[in-house]
């Protein structure tokens, strides 16, 4: 199953792209797929199938998720972004 991925802030600078796609049935699958294709993303933002502290994910601009077991639907959009706001 393919999902769209949008990257913001540090995830974007590490991956070098603003948008991509990934495959997987759950958030952990998608993160693992991204790690394999973007090693610099894995080094700083993703640890295996989980997000590293300081980063979060959002599905479709609606709900924030971090549990790698979070199921995804075909056509979902996953946003990867830094956790903290401020400034």
């Amino acid at each position: 199953m393919q999902v769209a991925v949008e990257l913001f802030g540090i995830p974007r600078t590490r991956a070098g792209v603003a948008r991509t796609t990934a495959v997987g049935k759950c958030l952990g699958d998608v993160l693992a797929d991204l790690s394999a294709r973007y090693p610099q993303l894995a080094d700083s933002c993703i640890d295996g199938r989980c997000l590293r502290p300081g980063f979060t994910a959002n599905v479709g601009g609606q709900r924030f998720v971090t549990d790698p077991q979070t199921t995804l639907e075909e056509g979902d959009t996953v946003l990867l972004l830094s956790l903290d706001a401020g400034g």
Partner: protein, 616 residues
């Protein structure tokens, strides 16, 4: 010890202050504050009990305690009787990263409520080295002056020739006049004119919100100059050094990467995607021109350098160059949002120029942008006869900013902030004035971030993202950010208490992500600097006491429960670009009630027991 007059000079009062007695000081503190009466040109050293220091720590906490002691809540903040406190903290001067910070605390001329604004860097270190834990000013100088505090020596220097200079100009002149080992807190022309959201500036950074610059301007003080030689001792210096090194090492990690690499402005595109980027005076939650002004784009096109405060290992400041050799400017998310999307501006040159103008004039970017965006909407709706003032018009934004200091019909309105301006314009425009308690709302649309909405509504200094970090809850799985329930109250309180503690210790909030257990680790830090046997639970109570003291100040100043709300626009109209983002008045009221009860106050927000702050 009673006050003692300064010897007078032929121009103004100057000379050594009253002899300083030896106060019993505990590690990390001097055990006294300096109180200067500018009207009588007298000063005194006032002892600080250890119990008060332990109860309120420093920074914002100690500041509100001193303001309560001064009876400042019932005084016009622009009158000579008003007090303003520059407050240091137990961590200033320590090897801890981000600890070089100071608080400026007064009654706000914008909100008529408590205002504690923080700024960073060498002024904090030099100010504490004068041998005082705080400097409290009351009265009004006879003429424009520089207050010089050189260890125990205190004098007022006449400074009419500095009046009218921008912050950068006056800092340059002061360095030439007094030497590089003095540090300066200054006001720009906005402070002189008592613009109600004027800032106090040090080295390009600002104690920004709430108008502390106007309070200083009303006292005829263009600058406070500090130099000192007194260092505090630390209770356990070796252990403190080891902990400081560990904290510094952790501060280089992923939790602060976004600040270091992109700066706070990196929020812009994420907020835009989530439809919580306030646009065109909160009429929308996303902005079509966001990419052009994003840090990702600016970094490619024009970034010049990064900078950091003294004693900081994060380095969040990103300095961008203006076109045509017009200098450079620090850019943060809040000035980017307020002078960009909020006014419909997508031209990066205009946003950078507007930010630079605010820095130089000494005005808070959020309140300036919010008030001008409100004026733009008033003009577009025909409530202001100013056809040139339109959303998206860069020259109009720059002209409006200039008018805030230059005066004229529009400038006089803008200088009052959006709440007072709405009441003068009439036509029920208060319903879309973007403010809470008179303080303009920062760059988080409350409809899409409803825990933050609660934080804004109950905030003691008005809508503020630095006194409540409740957006962190909205950016988590803990709540549905567009439909939060009563569970949000305790979560909002947790972020508010953390902020109160960070602002009193003082540590930079950008460090918060590196703590594993913030209250316990803060207690360990405080124990190493002071020697107090203090634990995380005591600091939780301390944080709650500080928040309660601010509320107590506001009640004395005339607070009523009706103030703890949001503008009608936010409560009656969902976001057009995200119709699910809707917050009714009834639901906000229920959240506020839950918050008040969780605080241990009455359902309406009155204090049940004022004894918690009665020992002042």
């Amino acid at each position: 010890m009673g006050p003692e007059r300064f010897p007078t000079s032929k121009t103004l009062l100057e000379g050594p202050g009253s002899p300083k007695m030896t106060f019993h000081s505990i590690p990390a503190y001097h055990g006294c504050y300096l109180r200067v009466d500018l009207t009588t040109a007298t000063s005194e050293f006032v002892p600080l009990d250890e119990a008060v220091l332990r109860s309120y720590l420093g920074g914002s906490g100690l500041g509100v305690a001193l303001l309560l002691r001064e009876g400042a809540a019932t005084v016009d903040p622009l009158s000579p009787a008003a007090a303003i406190a520059f407050v240091f903290s137990p961590l200033v001067g320590s090897p801890l990263t981000t600890s070089a910070k100071f608080a400026v605390v007064s009654k706000s001329p914008l909100t008529e409520r408590i205002n504690d604004s923080l700024a960073s860097s060498a002024f904090a270190i030099a100010g504490k080295k004068t041998g005082h834990d705080a400097i409290v000013l009351v009265g009004r100088a006879l003429c424009p002056s520089v207050l010089v505090i050189d260890d125990d020596r205190v004098r007022l220097d006449p400074a009419a020739e500095l009046w009218g200079l921008t912050n950068r100009q006056v800092q340059q002149q002061l360095k030439q006049r007094y030497g590089a080992d003095f540090q300066f807190a200054t006001i720009g022309p906005a402070g002189e004119r008592m613009v109600r959201y004027a800032t106090i500036s040090h080295d390009g950074r600002h104690a920004g919100r709430g108008g502390s610059g106007a309070v200083l301007g009303a006292k005829n003080v263009k600058a406070v100059a500090v130099r000192g030689s007194r260092r505090c001792k630390w209770a356990q210096p070796d252990e403190l050094a080891a902990l400081a090194k560990d904290l510094s090492d952790r501060s280089f990690g992923p939790a602060t990467a976004k600040y270091r690499e992109l700066g706070t402005a990196s929020n812009l595109l994420a907020f835009n995607r989530l439809n919580v980027l306030p646009t065109r005076n909160f009429q929308q939650g996303s902005f079509t021109g966001a990419v052009a002004i994003s840090p990702e784009e600016l970094n490619v096109a024009r970034e010049r350098s990064r900078a950091s405060c003294v004693a900081c290992t994060i380095g969040c400041e990103h300095v961008y160059g203006l076109r045509n050799g017009q200098g450079e400017v620090r850019l943060e998310y809040e000035n980017l949002f307020a002078l960009g999307p909020l006014c419909g501006i997508g031209n990066p040159d205009v946003v950078l120029q507007a930010s630079q103008k605010c820095d130089e004039l000494g005005i808070d970017t959020i309140s300036a942008g919010g008030t001008i965006a409100f004026a733009m909407e008033c003009a577009e709706r025909g409530f202001l006869d100013m056809p040139w003032l339109r959303f998206g018009e860069g020259p109009a934004l720059l002209r409006a900013l200039d008018s805030i200091v230059a005066g004229g019909p529009l400038g006089e309105l803008l200088a009052q902030g959006s709440r007072r301006m709405a009441l003068e314009v009439g036509h029920d425009t208060i319903r879309f004035a973007p403010q809470v308690k008179g303080l303009e709302i920062p760059g988080y649309d409350p409809r899409g971030l409803q825990t933050m909405a609660l934080g804004f509504a109950v905030g003691t200094r008005g809508a503020d993202h630095n006194r409540s970090g409740a957006y962190e809850v909205d950016f988590s799985e803990a709540v549905d950010r567009r439909n939060v329930g009563a569970e949000a109250a305790a979560l909002a309180i947790e972020t508010e208490d953390k902020a109160a503690l960070m602002d009193s210790l003082i540590l930079c909030k950008f460090l918060r992500g590196v703590f594993r257990d913030f209250f316990a680790e803060s207690a360990e830090i405080l124990q190493l600097v002071t020697g107090w046997e203090v634990g995380g639970e005591e600091l939780r109570r301390t944080a709650a006491r500080i928040v309660t003291a601010k509320k107590h100040f506001n009640i004395l100043a005339g607070w009523t429960p009706a103030e703890d709300t949001l503008p009608e626009r936010i409560l009656r109209h969902p976001l057009p670009d995200d119709p699910r983002a809707q917050l009714s008045p009834e639901r906000l009221n229920s959240l506020v009630t839950a918050y008040n009860l969780a605080r241990g106050w009455t359902a309406d927000g009155w204090l049940n027991d004022e004894s918690v702050v009665s020992d002042l």
